[in-house]
């Protein structure tokens, strides 16, 4: 007995020590969605707790009844296995009650939900200046395009306290855009455009991940949302537009790391796709443009390369940036090809 108690004490102390260390606070312990940085997301969390509250109550009630009956009515010593218990065939009134009561509970949840639905995705009023960003899902990256033509791979920069509308599209298979600390997910489906509306209320950096199985590298199709003050955002957007037009932005590196590296490796030494470091196509604008626009499935080579450039800007700036980045990165650039296209 005392040994068992000792064991229990050790266990409890162990758990108590391990949990904060394990980052319990950071994740809420996983008992609810993370604290939300948007109004809509908070509404979802409220709903979650309402439904959870009801289900926990039902859980305790029914599980409690089961445990109680199991303990109370287990066969007594001296009673034989086959001894009849009272032959109760049912009770219509009771059964009616436990049909109607759950029905009413569910109706209550439904009413609360339907009342809350409009605020889950508060849509900007007509005339309201909401920031529209086009979000394109690709195997295996997210491309964000702003109204002024600025593009960004895998990192979405947003202003705080300004309504945002994401227009979700997909260029190959279905993806799903999900940043748990902002709000729920929404699918990006080829052939349709979905929208997702929210207003971020907290400055910070939020991580997200594609939620719909989209192929071999689905697990690393991640994204980050950087939320900054509105004036910082406006400044960045204008500066970035100039930098991208002048070919002086980080777009090339972003594209290599976000698009190509997920299949070919950061150093281009191969991964799901073959090693391409030093491949002559990497300095051949026309050849590379064709490959990226059409993809390739050589029967001799395992796997296929999807068309990855479907959402790239029409003025070719992203391809140019990529080529420039490759040319300036010694371990990727084909030998003797720096500067001029082969």
């Amino acid at each position: 007995m005392s040994r068992r108690r000792l064991l229990l004490a050790v266990l409890l102390v162990g758990v108590a020590l391990a949990l904060p260390h394990a980052g319990l606070a950071q994740y809420n312990g996983g008992i609810a969605p993370p604290d939300s940085a948007t109004e809509g997301g908070s509404q979802i969390n409220d709903l979650y707790w309402i439904v959870m509250g009801v289900t926990i109550a039902i859980f305790l009630l029914v599980e409690g009844a089961i445990v109680w009956f199991v303990l109370r009515f287990r066969r007594r010593p001296g009673t034989s296995f086959e001894a009849d218990a009272p032959q109760i065939h049912g009770n219509t009134r009771l059964e009616l009650v436990w049909t109607v009561v759950p029905f009413l509970i569910l109706v209550a949840i439904l009413v609360v939900t339907i009342v809350k639905v409009p605020s889950v995705e508060a849509r900007p009023d007509a005339g309201d200046e909401s920031l529209v960003v086009r979000v394109a899902g690709h195997q295996f990256y997210w491309e964000y395009t702003y109204g002024n033509g600025v593009v960004s791979v895998d990192t979405l920069r947003l202003p705080v306290d300004r309504p945002v509308r994401l227009e979700l599209v997909a260029y190959d298979v279905i993806h799903s855009w999900w940043v748990p600390e902002l709000t729920g997910k929404r699918d990006a489906i080829p052939g349709t455009t979905n929208t997702l509306d929210f207003t971020v209320t907290r400055i910070g950096s939020f991580r997200g991940q594609c939620a719909e199985l989209c192929g071999v590298q689905h697990a690393v199709m991640r994204t980050t949302v950087e939320v900054v003050p509105p004036d910082a955002f406006d400044g960045w957007l204008a500066a970035e537009a100039k930098a991208q037009a002048a070919g002086a932005s980080e777009l090339g590196r972003q594209t290599w790391e976000g698009v190509c590296a997920k299949c070919h490796g950061l150093d281009g030494k191969g991964g799901y796709g073959p090693a391409i470091a030093g491949n002559s196509l990497l300095a051949d604008p026309a050849g590379l443009a064709a490959l990226l626009a059409e993809g390739r499935d050589n029967p001799q080579v395992d796997g296929y390369m999807p068309a990855v450039s479907g959402s790239w800007p029409g003025d070719g700036r992203q391809l140019e940036a990529l080529l420039a980045y490759i040319a300036s990165t010694p371990e990727l650039a084909p030998a003797g090809a720096d500067g001029q296209g082969g």
């Binding site: 319990l24 959870m52 199991v70 999900w178």
Partner: protein, 546 residues
């Protein structure tokens, strides 16, 4: 008929034992072949799950990544649903339904054998995809387009997957027709619709669901095959098709499929609990008819798998309301089982442990279903590990525990011998402990933002702790299943003789000898209630039953 076949073929085989099974049209032999082979696939699908859990035990492991990981999750799901769960239930149903209704065999014995062997061929084709160039199918058990289409899954594995499922689907269709005809036409004298055992009721509901939904998935798979091989584009947006249409067709089948799996397990539990409580089921009619209610309502809830597709508040709302409706007949069942325990004379032999465990754990899966059916909440939970946890609670907590209850309960009937009680209890406690360790933390992982079907994650701390606990739990479950196998093999060979009715149960199968003779019964007592054997015992003056 069976006898003639046997005599003709015997000489080509040394002792004829193999051929006697292969050519058998006896529902009991067919049932046992179903059960055995389904169990082999259970071990296979379980091994894939163990590999998945090993890969996810820690961040950044390299045991199975990328394509091979996707093939593992795809095939784990497909094998468990189509090669384990459905055939195992078909096996138990085959074995029990004719016995329970006092019939000599199924209505169409040769059709029955045909379903069995079509299933076998389907299984070979499906698993053959592992041997195909490029490996097994990788598009998930849902095979959403365009990922499963010709451009993104050009390998043969996906085609074999489709063909295998077609065959298995045909097998289920033939089987369900056979069950319905048998149950409608071949009940023994006196067995009216309110006197048939609840397990048989659940098979009625299941067969209706199979008949109504398998044709839809068959059509979807056929169109997918055409998209892949004949250049059509029903589901390919590039050619003007609709990827969302595929999802509608898939889930029109996919949601009822959950009930195709779990209804017979409900039936099993409804048989086991009264026997070990020495009481009649509380509310026979409610339990019987709620099966039909579940079956019908479950056909209008499929959109709850598509809340994030962007169907709009109108449709999402409709599917949410319909899903909440289906919770009611399901809840009724749980309460009826609970009430059956009330004032019972409860004996916790292994079948009873599993049956009550099923009620207790299935309840959790049902309640988390109420959470995910709330569509704004599902915006967060959809496609996350929370969903993985939720449906394993319904399918393992509901169906698999129910199946184990049934296998232990009818083991003496099928083999003539008693299983080992001590090993049975070890099996139960280890399995439920392992199960809880595996799937409780997965709820949290989902809420913390871990999507399903990922081969790695880049977060540490609690994230890794939960994943590790989940992996340990999975291996405990494997250990429990090993104990089960030892128990079955040992007891089948040398367990104590069981006699025809070791549990003093209520239904007709216990009137046959253990194992039953080829023709099942010499005579069948007239059925005057849903508990004919209890009536018989009382008529024969068993005072102890008084």
């Amino acid at each position: 008929m069976a006898v003639r076949v046997e005599e003709q073929v015997l000489p080509t085989w040394k002792d004829g034992a193999v051929m006697r099974w292969v050519t058998s049209v006896d529902h009991k032999k067919i049932g046992l072949i179903y059960i055995w082979s389904a169990f082999v696939f259970f071990v296979g699908g379980g091994s894939m799950a163990l590999a998945i859990r090993l890969q996810l035990a820690q961040a950044d492991q390299e045991i199975a990544t990328q394509g091979s990981f996707n093939a593992l999750t795809t095939m784990h799901g497909t094998v468990m649903v189509f090669l384990f769960a459905m055939p195992l239930l078909a096996g138990i149903g085959n074995y029990l339904v004719p016995l329970m209704i006092g019939a000599r065999d199924m209505a169409f014995p040769r059709l029955n054998a045909l379903s069995l062997w079509i299933y076998m061929i389907g299984a070979i084709v499906l698993l053959g995809s592992f041997g195909a160039k490029g490996g097994a199918a990788q598009a998930g058990w849902t095979a959403y387009t365009p990922l499963s289409g010709p451009d993104y899954a050009p390998e043969l594995g996906q085609d074999l997957w489709i063909l295998g499922l077609h065959l298995v689907g045909i097998s289920s269709l033939l089987g369900s027709i056979n069950f319905l005809v048998t149950i409608v036409n071949m009940r023994t004298q006196g067995m009216s619709w309110t006197r048939i055992p609840l397990f048989v009721w659940s098979m009625v509901a299941q067969s209706i669901l199979i008949l109504l939904t398998i044709p839809v998935i068959a059509a979807a798979l056929l169109l997918l095959l055409l998209d892949r091989q004949a250049g059509t584009s029903f589901f390919l947006p590039d050619g003007g098709g609709s990827a969302v249409l595929y999802q509608h067709l898939f889930w029109f089948f996919g949601h009822p499929e959950v009930y195709i799996l779990v209804l017979p397990a409900f039936g099993i539990v409804s048989e086991v609990i009264p026997v070990f409580a020495r009481k009649p089921i509380f509310g026979y009619k409610a339990v019987a008819f709620s099966s039909l209610g579940i079956a019908l309502i479950s056909m209008i809830v499929w959109g709850h798998h598509m809340f994030t597709v962007g169907l709009g508040d109108g449709l999402n709302g409709f599917f949410m309301v319909a899903t909440y409706l289906v919770a009611i007949p399901t809840g009724i069942k749980v309460l009826n089982w609970t009430a059956t325990l009330w004032r019972g004379n409860l004996t916790f032999r292994t079948p009873m442990l599993f049956a009550v465990g099923m009620v207790a754990l299935f309840l959790i899966g049902g309640l988390s279903g109420v959470v995910v059916a709330n569509y704004p909440v599902d915006y967060q939970l959809h496609d996350s590990y929370y969903i993985v946890a939720h449906f394993h609670y319904t399918i393992i907590g509901g169906m698999v525990l129910g199946i184990f209850a049934g296998l232990y309960h009818w083991f003496p009937k099928m083999t003539g011998r008693m299983y080992d009680e001590r090993l049975g209890k070890w099996h139960f406690w280890l399995f439920t402990l392992g199960f809880s360790l595996t799937f409780v933390p997965q709820h949290m992982l989902g809420l913390m933002g871990m999507p399903r079907r990922v081969y790695t994650y880049d977060r540490e701390g609690l994230f890794e702790v939960y994943n590790l606990v989940s992996t340990i739990g999975a291996w405990l479950m494997a250990l429990a299943v090993l104990i089960f196998i030892v128990n079955v093999v040992r007891s089948w060979r040398s367990g104590p003789r069981a006699g025809s009715d070791p549990w003093l149960a209520d239904t007709l199968e216990w009137y046959a000898s253990s194992p039953p003779a080829e023709h099942n019964f010499d005579s069948v007592p007239y059925v005057a209630s849903h508990r004919p054997l209890r009536d018989l015992r009382r008529r024969l003056g068993g005072e102890r039953d008084g």
